[in-house]
Symmetry: C2
Subunit: 761 residues, 2 copies
């Protein structure tokens, strides 16, 4: 792989680019009185994870456990003429073979039609995985292969193959009145007078962009184990981002009540949105109910690619108009989402992004293709649309001779503007983040050499909220237990511990956070949508405040004072003004256990809280080798408007991880489908993801302007960082060599092709 130096600009030291002294955190809300929040606390579960003690889904081993393996369609689209399971059933060690016929009308296995390579046809349940795999091979399926659609642009053609037979589609016509094929959903945004705006524009840019299916490639493929109990309930252990979500989905798939299921979420080896949805959980539960024995199903890496929940690709035609001063006046275009068999549509407004644009005419199609229905992947749809939007804005800036920073500042949403989510912005969050990024990157001040370029792009994300909870109890030694239903992603539980420690003025190490399964906590929504720390952090804070109140009440009895005369500080409750009249949290907690009101506890259930957008800005510096088309990423500044960094180390980790994924999408990743609709790179040898030498040290900038509804001013931080990276690289390539690559990933071949095309023009 070579040393990191190999990957940087030949002849230039990184130091030349970094030669500045500004601090890297743009913190406008310092709060020196905080003791735990805002600190760089290591992940509390880190030692267990790195020493291999943490239990992951595949670590579940149960007595009498069987193993399920799935027979999958080798074809992108075919009819099933017949399935012969006789040989498989006869194989010693095979306990059950399940096809659609055995499912009593459920839709968990293909009945007559397979709709994508990897579509589930049968499940074999056997004494061990090897037997199950052997038996899968013994099942004989007679297919009649059908034509398939795997590209959304070609897929809507009036004469394209039908992707899913009998599926209900929209009646949308082309300019000749011919009905488009495979359009499962259509939406539009129409606002103002677009045609007039284009007519009056000083500059117009129109481009077509393409992006491929894109896999989350988390470290841990999905695994689940189900155990049916004699009383009729089933316990399911799985790797997921939300136990209740999985519970609902299995209940729906199997047409049983949610209460029959107990879902135990295990530590997750990465999810990024994919583990919001089912893999084979319903199949494991069904097989366990049938066999009366525990059944484990482990998905391998190839199955992850063939039948996971990757991000959708898309085809975008986008036209943007601006006046001389840089004001964007109109946006017009169409996006075709590569929607898999579900024809899943995306959020059309993302093509407008965090800018005030008066005239809009956009149309979005959810196109059915012969691929698994795409799932969520960190800021779903935002990186794809940012690529188009931010490239067009960049091109406009160049056309108008305006600095790419200035054009964005000119159009950015501002304090007082209403967001599409219905809240009024309390700060110039985006503008301040753009400025912070520019400052860190020394925008305009860095002497770039030939074939080097710098590009900026912005992204916005409205963090979510949803049911969550925290239950707090204190132990005799003053330690604090927290129970929540919110699955830990990227350190959520550590942050909850910091918040609780802050409120109760105890060291973070005294706080433990446990994840409750669906039998132990109320309904809790997904750890997704950049909402976990925002919502569950709020629950933790409120619950801790409840515990503090109880602590003061109990201390008041001990100290013979009114609760209002007491203060909690440094793990002690004392009478205000009389620090010697004090009692430790441990003593109060211990004493409370024998009191009339019982132990010191606090609970909080969140339903909904108002949510706010947050913004990310990337500035990429690249050097392009015009001969090979190879793009070297020299530097990446990733600034983000985080409200309050509850744990700067973890927030920086989020930003670095997200930016890396975005850069990877921009430069190397993407699932490749052949003409028969088969995935050509369904493994981690052929599907390129970045490794450490592929990336510079990302320079993160945290912009902290608090959000009143988040805990201590925090906003969601998980999703924004993945949005602008690919577009920033595209804009940097343009700045370096004057060509615009519009198809992702921007591989050397595509860069060379763009350079060749430019020379031809």
């Amino acid at each position: 792989m070579g040393s990191p130096g190999d990957r940087r600009a030949p002849g230039h030291t990184r130091q030349e680019l970094l030669d500045h002294t500004e601090p890297s955190t743009e913190c406008s809300m310092p709060n020196p009185s905080l003791n735990s929040v805002g600190k760089r606390v290591g992940r509390l579960n880190g030692p267990d994870i790195v020493t291999g003690r943490t239990l992951y889904a595949d670590d579940i081993q149960l007595q009498e456990m069987l193993h399920g393996r799935v027979l999958r369609s080798p074809h992108a689209h075919a009819l099933i003429r017949s399935i012969d399971t006789r040989k498989a059933r006869k194989l010693p060690g095979v306990v059950d073979v399940i096809t659609a016929e055995e499912t009593d009308g459920l839709s968990i296995l293909a009945r007559k039609e397979v709709r994508y390579q990897g579509d589930k046809v049968a499940v074999v349940v056997a004494e061990n995985p090897d037997i199950a795999l052997d038996a899968v091979e013994l099942i004989e399926v007679d297919y009649q292969v059908l034509g398939s659609a795997t590209d959304p642009f070609e897929g809507i053609a009036p004469n394209a193959p039908v992707a899913v037979r009998g599926a209900k589609n929209e009646d949308v016509r082309d300019e000749n009145g011919k009905r488009y094929r495979n359009v499962a959903a259509r939406d539009e945004i129409v606002q103002g007078d677009v045609d007039a705006a284009f007519a009056k524009a000083d500059a117009v840019v129109e481009n077509i962009y393409r992006a491929p299916y894109w896999h989350q490639t988390y470290m841990e493929p999905n695994s689940c184990t189900a155990q049916a109990q004699p009383g009729g309930r089933v316990t399911l252990w799985t790797s997921c981002q939300g136990s209740f979500n999985i519970r609902s989905a299995v209940a729906d798939a199997l047409k049983i009540g949610e209460g029959r299921l107990r879902v135990v979420p295990l530590e997750m080896g990465g999810g990024f949105g994919a583990k919001n949805r089912l893999f084979c959980e319903a199949h494991a539960v069904f097989a366990s109910i049938r066999t009366g024995r525990p059944v484990k199903i482990l998905i391998n890496r190839e199955e992850e690619f063939l039948d996971g929940h990757p991000a959708p690709g898309c085809w975008v035609r986008l036209k943007t108009a601006a006046r001389k001063d840089g004001s964007i006046t109109a946006v017009e275009g169409r996006i075709l989402w590569d929607g898999g068999i579900g024809g899943r549509n995306g959020n059309l407004a993302r093509l407008v992004g965090p800018y005030n644009v008066p005239n809009i005419r956009l149309e979005g199609f959810g196109v059915r293709t012969n691929k698994p229905t795409p799932g969520a992947y960190r800021a779903p749809g935002a990186p794809q649309t940012a690529m188009a939007r931010e490239s067009n804005i960049d091109a406009l800036a160049h056309k108008l001779g305006i600095d790419p920073i200035d054009i964005r500042l000119k159009n950015a949403v501002r304090k007082g503007d209403r967001t599409s989510g219905g809240v009024t912005l309390p700060h110039d969050w985006l503008a301040n983040t753009i400025k912070a990024a520019a400052k860190e990157a020394r925008w305009g001040k860095t002497g770039l050499k030939k074939n080097q370029g710098m590009g900026i792009a912005c992204g916005d994300w409205q963090n979510g909220s949803g049911p969550t909870n925290a239950f707090i109890a204190l132990s005799e030694d003053g330690s604090v237990q927290v129970l929540t239903g919110q699955v830990d992603i990227t350190g959520l539980h550590t942050v909850m511990a910091q918040i609780v420690a802050e409120v109760l003025t105890v060291p973070v190490g005294k706080v433990t956070v446990q994840l409750g399964d669906t039998d132990k906590v109320p309904y809790t929504s997904l750890s997704a949508g950049s909402k976990a720390a925002y919502s569950a952090g709020t629950a933790a804070r409120k619950a801790a405040e409840g515990a503090r109140e109880r602590l003061l009440q109990e201390a008041a009895d001990i100290l013979e004072a009114a609760p209002a005369d007491l203060e909690l500080k440094g793990g002690k409750v004392s009478v205000i003004g009389l620090p010697s009249r004090s009692v430790t949290v441990a003593d109060v907690a211990s004493s409370a256990m024998d009191s009339n009101d019982g132990p010191v506890t606090g609970q909080w259930i969140v339903g909904k809280i108002p949510t706010y957008p947050s913004y990310s800005v990337n500035i990429a510096t690249v050097e392009v080798d015009p001969g090979t088309g190879r793009v070297h990423l020299l530097d990446l500044v990733a600034a983000q408007d985080v409200g309050r960094a509850l744990n700067p180390m973890l927030v920086e980790g989020q930003i670095q991880g997200g930016a890396t994924q975005s850069i990877a999408y921009g430069m190397m990743e993407g699932m490749i489908y052949d003409e028969e609709g088969r995935v050509r790179n369904a493994n981690l040898l052929d599907y390129a993801i970045p490794t450490a030498p592929d990336m510079p040290d990302i320079r993160t900038v945290l912009v902290e302007e608090g959000c009143e509804h988040g805990p201590y001013g925090a906003k969601g931080v998980g999703e924004p960082p993945i949005i602008p990276g690919a577009a920033a690289v595209a804009n940097a390539i343009y700045d370096a060599v004057g060509v615009r690559v519009t198809e992702l990933p921007m591989t050397p071949e595509r860069v060379v092709a763009a350079l060749d095309q430019a020379r031809e023009d």
Copy 2:
């Protein structure tokens, strides 16, 4: 074992004794409007238990798990001259050998003195249990054997061997001014003018009673597994009656903070009070911290006898005086509790019992003996003292020519009396229970034959209360999850489910109850002291009422009505008077998940609630074979004042189980110590416990006069049934053959001896 008929009176059919038609439930508080509470609901975890799916402590299997075995003292009392562990350490597969020297001053292993047979000397930790056992045998200990005290009466003699060297004892003197040995504790009750009362008495009875150590003989010997985690915390799985109690005890033993421990209580295969305390949990935790690997220690049956927590025996001298009319005027006496190495004292007031006695002079000693410190066993101390008290009262009745029923009714505590627990009795609970028992037994109406007799005895128990909790959440399908820290004993969780179902008007089958470990719930006190259903049932009811309130609030939004205008009935919320305007609990629960206030939940934390006594009355009918001394128990009526039978089937089970244990204590059980202080019957072949053919079908009578503080009027029911059985048999033997057996168990040998003695007198 012969057919059950063999064990009954020869020549008499059971039908002759049972020839009556009265109903067997004395229910004075019927409430036909209850749907779930008061019903005979089978234990919800029954199917899992009987099919072997339930996880017990010994089912815990962890990767890399080691096995610990304990080297125990073979002597009742000895000094340790030296311990040589070299051979043991060299045995392949041995990972660690721990003696007191390795414990850094902790008191978990004998250092210089072993104080009872079974006292812990060393722990071997090995790759498997066989190696551990082999290594235990390779440890060479050089003992200097000392004299031992195993009988409390002999143990207090001024010249008796010292049971525990250096132990602090009370300075108590005999009539000659010589200091008693081994008296660890002394207490007394002095009230009124006892001497005057005895002087004026119309009848006086004085007897000496003895009772042996008595083991709980639960099905599941203790097992525990500890796993130290890299972060410094330790998880402990164990079979226990209270996870927090075990946590505190381990923390104390190892001098670490409670917060470092997570105790996971498993389903318990019987505890009866013994599993309130530690077995080898501290040792397993210590060994896991030392080795860095999980360590399991399983106690075998012999170890259970040698180093369990059996009930104490005692020596009692009791003198009781009464007037002609049967009024008991004075009680005087002394009890020597066989207190093991801890010299544990008992509750002296139990010698007075549930009767109003004006003049009292009682003295109690906790005597150190070379036995493990006794633990709790179902109504600790009550069966032993009831034997003395109820025998004396019976003897007084016979002396005065008063019916044994009448003398008890005459002296029974009554409505308006204050209990020692400080509450005023709201009903004639005891008197009504005596009457109900007499009615069921057809007291005085059954023609008894020669050598047949009927005996009555009473018992009282003040149920406890203490910290407990219930957390309720509703699922989309209207099912209800309950989380509690209260360990399930004899169906507690089923009863909690019934209570929750009652409040929320859903079927019991829709409710699941889960036990939370110490990281998931607030401090919860033991499932012991007849308080589980009383306290945790109250928590369940209050939590359910909270959930109902939230349900009505959410339904009010859906139905566009005020919550006060709504009623919850049959799983539906409807507008009062407009049953068609209704919505199901499932729909409300489902809708709430997307509401501003979040899912339907309810929580309740109990600290303390007032507690009340409850009463049990047994009437035994026996036939004695004067030749062999064999006593046939022909019939047993067990009446109990239960407040409200939340689940009559489970309450009857409690009564039958308790009565069986009491009868067994009366007739066959007891640990036998030889002259060297060694247990002669430390196994279930030699230690007699009853099997089904040993017992008649116990006729239970539930007296239901509600208690305002218990859920739906319930009182604690677990302990009272074990109290009066042995005494009732003793009184029945007297009724049958005119002799009083005063030492437990009343074996055929002792009956014959008593008959021989009577003939001699």
